[in-house]
Symmetry: C2
């Protein structure tokens, strides 16, 4: 396998996986492209490589910066902006956890806390409250674990893995 084929496969696969996880496919492909680029790229280079429009490139580069996965680099003497990806996998995963936790888990927990106020006064509502309480407790625990995980050292995950596997 040569480098071109490898790059194409990686970008395609990264995009496929991301879209399975509810993340825009093109956004993930831009991310993949920047991950494997040895140097920071301009928006034009991204457009060129992935064959996408200027608007699309701009939108997804901004989204990636919102997620904290891509950063701008300003080169002196150059008008254009350059973009590069965070390459450390632990940092990448951590950023994703931070974002998804805030955008998805926490709103769900808020709703569960509200719902916990339903009075259990019939078989249906009793069962309802029971299930909601279980999920609520589980979610709170997961949320705390993720907080700890986020604050942990970059080798936390690796250490945990080694401890579990051995």
């Amino acid at each position: 396998m040569d480098i071109q084929e490898g790059k194409a496969k990686f970008i395609e696969s990264w995009g496929k996986m991301a879209s399975d996880w509810g993340i825009n496919r093109t956004m993930a492909q831009v991310h993949a492209l920047l991950l494997i680029a040895p140097e920071a790229l301009t928006a034009d280079q991204v457009m060129e490589e992935l064959d996408i429009s200027r608007g699309n490139a701009n939108m997804n580069l901004r989204a990636l910066m919102d997620w904290g996965l891509v950063h701008k680099q300003l080169k002196s003497g150059e008008r254009k902006e350059f973009f590069f990806a965070e390459k450390d996998m632990w940092t990448v995963v951590r950023q994703i956890i931070i974002n998804r936790k805030k955008r998805e888990l926490e709103p769900m927990i808020k709703v569960l806390d509200e719902i916990a106020g339903v009075e259990a006064n019939c078989p249906e509502s009793e069962h309802f409250c029971e299930v909601v309480q279980d999920i609520r407790k589980f979610s709170h625990k997961a949320n705390q674990t993720l907080d700890t995980l986020i604050k942990a050292e970059s080798n936390w995950f690796t250490n945990m893995v080694l401890n579990m596997v051995r």
Copy 2:
């Protein structure tokens, strides 16, 4: 808050969260409905409660059974099939991990393993191989961890959480 409002909020919220995670919104709503139902429901009841078509209900009930989150119950003397959801949160999460791992993580790992064969003979390909190797190692570790997690007792997660938080 009364039981009807609570149910509606829960179903809506569960569906919203799922769609953020790349899971069909209606599938998650059917799942939510069955989670809070004290008894197994028929396809007709699901159609009625969520105001969806027969085809849609059937499709999503089958998908939920594929995921191992919902099961059929056959009542003697009844022609219709009844459906109920697995209620233990640990089992629910485990089933989701099993499925997503197989459908998404493992194919990605397969591609990464293939790509690892690219020869590093120029700055670009060297950097490419380096990044791919990092992701590959990380993914293999994650995969092993998930295997261990899947085999673990139902209180593994809870125990881990407690250990981390305290």
